[in-house]
Amino acid sequence: MARPAPSPVYTLRGAGAPLNTLHFRCPAGDTPLLFSGSAKGAIHMWDLNSRRAEQVVEAHCGNSVIWLSTLRSGETLISQGRDMQVCLWDLKDGRSEVVDSVWTGSVGFCQCSVLETSPSNFLLAFAGPQTEEIKIVEMPGKNPVCSLVPDAQLGMVMCVQLWKPDSGLGPLLFAGYEDGSLLLWDVTQRSELSRVKAHPEPVMCLTFDPRRLRGVSGSCEKKLSSWMLDSQNNIQLQDCVMLVNPGVSQLRVRDDGRLLASAGWDHRVRVFGWKKLRPLAVLQYHTDMVLSVAFSDHQDPRQRLLAAGSKDQRISLWSIYNQGPDTV
């Protein structure tokens, strides 16, 4: 007998605008935080112990915040807004001030991707001013690394993900385009390694698990497309997962590689087993499109949370599949 559908552990209200992006920072021995970026340019830092907004920062001149991330050190927050700026914030000692910013020149909704190459340096990939262009800069020096433009017309860049393979090759980049194509770029060679047409519609989101060399992408249709990278770095499409309702805003794989979560346009978050993409749960709470999902990075697996941010201006937090198999 199936267990009844889960309910949220708690919800966070009061952001006052649709929540485009979520990011956890839960270091051991420190207050666990959840960052959220709203369509009105506010960045909320929610304290997960008190469940209140610890700090609210007005960013990007009131333009929508579309992406947030922190560096591993936890003291730098990166935010991307629709004012075509990516800002770096200093969070040390409770401060929150912009220390640097990068102009992207892209009017689209493509979220950035960050890859830390060393404790002090990181690569930042974002859509550039031209339609199909992806730019990569090395931070904090803002040195341009390369600009990747495909030789065919694929439409706007919709989503990117930087990663570094174990095999010692330079960083690689997955990019989804408006015409549904999925490309793998070699950043150091500036060459296209592989291309597949994963969807008939624009690729709305993708996520790639470098440890399993598997990824999944979503579009505005009723299916998720899963794919794999073979030893020659070719993207191989695998079977897809059918959804009940069309449209996916975001996909995330939990750090332990067991769960995949999708943010649906049908107001629901879906949870799948990552290994076989078996549907496990449908999280229903929101009354409008879910725009973002995030898994927390708690050290203790039992504290891990799943957060979903929606157009209905709320964030819901869920505790799901957190126990070891012996206790479930």
Binding site: A2, R268, A281, V328
Partner: protein
Amino acid sequence: KLASNVQRKFAAAAGAVVAQSLRTLSSSADHADKIEALKTLNSFLDDAAESGATSAAEREEFRRAHYSRTLRVGVGLLQADWMSAAQRSQLVEPLFLKGPPDQALLALMEAVSQLSPSAGLDRLVSVTESFLQSGRLADLLWSSCLQSGLPGSPQLDEALLARLTALPDITANKLRLGNRPLFAPQRYYPLLASEMLAALERTCQALRDGTDCSVAFVAQTLGKVCVQGHSGPVLAVMAPRLAVCTRSDALWQRVCWKLLQNVPERWLEGVLTGLVQAVKSPEAFSRIVGNLALTNKKAQFVLTHKVLLLQYSYETQVLRTVLGHLASDRERRPLLVQVCAARQAFWCSERCTAKTDCNLKISYIFLKLVYLIRLSLVLFTIDLLIKQTSIMTVLPRPGQVSRYFSRFPINSFCPANRILRLFCCRPSDDDLTPYDMSGDQETGQASPPRYLRDCLETLMSSEDSERVELSLRVAESLVRRNVFAAKEISVQMTKVLLHMEDKYSISGFLALRQAAMVALAVTDSVPVTQYLTAEFYSLNYSLRQRLDILEVLALAAQELSTPFADKTSPSAAAPELTSYPATDPAHWRQVVEKRIQSKTRRISKGSTHRGTKAAPNRYAPAAGYFFFPLLRNYDKPEVTFDLLGSDHLVLGRLIHTLGLFMHLAVNAPVLFMHLFLFCLMVRRGVLFAVCAVFLSMPSQSLLVDLGEQLFETRTWLSGKNQIKCITTEEEKKNTIFTKN
């Protein structure tokens, strides 16, 4: 039998040809003859040339019996000076690169160690280099995998293995400073590792296709290389790839296990210690090694004693990997408990002092482990730990524990949950129990509005495309069903619909909007038509909207003028609802009447069908509201709308619509008194429109495209001339009327 005879014949023929060629090469003085002989020999190795001089059986025979002789001759030819470099690369080198790779490698290595430094040796080394670069090592290893059933000669294997693993030493001894970079250990061993991976990959593929393979030789190569101290570079290449491959592929996992099982015991330690250092995580290590520690005593000793207890040189990560490996599987956990017990016994013994136990890190891990095992008795029900309760008797004394703890701050190293996680093994998806997902229905079934006011509200202000679409789809039926409600908001709703834009690309948007507006105009004719006709001449409308107005008016007029065909008319429905048998005194009469009727047989029934029921013409009272206001301002140009100027498209439609109104008003008494006047008006309008067409079109295209219409117009106009006199008389009246 015949086949074997034929084969023997082929073999004999091939043998003769080869012998002849070799003889020519060794004894003839004529270079052309020698080249020809070389070409013959090459043809035996060329698999691609199917149509060539040699058959498959001949080639097989050549490889089996004559290849080693040919190679010896080839070595000789490399030293000879009479050939050009091109001839050598075309005719001699392929002899080494295309035949069976094991024999070729042996011949090359033998020649390298025997020759003295010379140009011939240089050429030989170059051939060896291209042998390595063209992936022949993978072919060599792969061919050894395929010979699983055949009893190979152990001496040959031994020799091959020695050459394969010691190639850098052989070349370095011989060439000294002139050694090639490819033969340096830091390049050769990674190459060998990737060739081993390639052979394993082909093995997996072959197993999938159902071919038997053996990885014994690859395992021996791996073991020998590792025991010679090259495990670092080799496993740095192999371990990450194996970790990835085994993650998703059970067959790869089996091949890895088989590979490690086949490593000879004397070499196993090198492989395991190398592997444990090369992999990044306990999970990867477990996938590659499997339960080797349970089946192989040597492996068990290496993993549980040597790495954990005896050798102190390893990084902490290595210890974590081994402990994680042992803890992650139910069957391996007894080993972990044994290790812990051994360590505890050591601590509790009198010999234990801080100095003897020099790797304090590992002690720390063990202390934590022991604590966690105790804890796990509470947290997890690991049956095995309960069985092994003897461990409880050898726990360290509390003072000892606190001494260790005080020496190492907890945060500095190995957080508790890391080890805790060791106990939670990595299961597959199957261990995740799904929640109830029956609530996951299609969301398309958002309910359409039930009330007209809700519908209007949605159309006015909602941003939700689905709800707007649903509202628009039900708008017409809601209006027609709720006449009274519709009359209250008819004008407002008409206004909303008129200004509505197709923001969400709703399919059939125009038709739906039109139907709803027509329904409103029919339901509440007077106010709606007043509104629409007034808006027709007002400022801020597009041509499309003005044309919409005309269309809606025309359709509404048409509907109003047709007889009201409502099946559920009140007169028909009322008796059924109100008649109640007991209270109706005439009821029995009707029943009797019916019975009589049914029994009576009539020759001719006549017409029982009553024909269309007479109904008042609904158009008649409203016709004026449709017609007159549209006439009012046609000659008054606005900034945005000049009917007599640039917007003659609308004018044409207007005239058409007016004509339609006239036609539909055929039975309307109200219009009779103005009939003549209107006929006149319409004619004038038409005349004007015709003139507008004539004026605006270029004359040549007018004749070409509209010739037929032109002719028609002419006959029509000639008929009109006869009543022109009346027209002029009535003109005065007309102007008065239009001003009103």
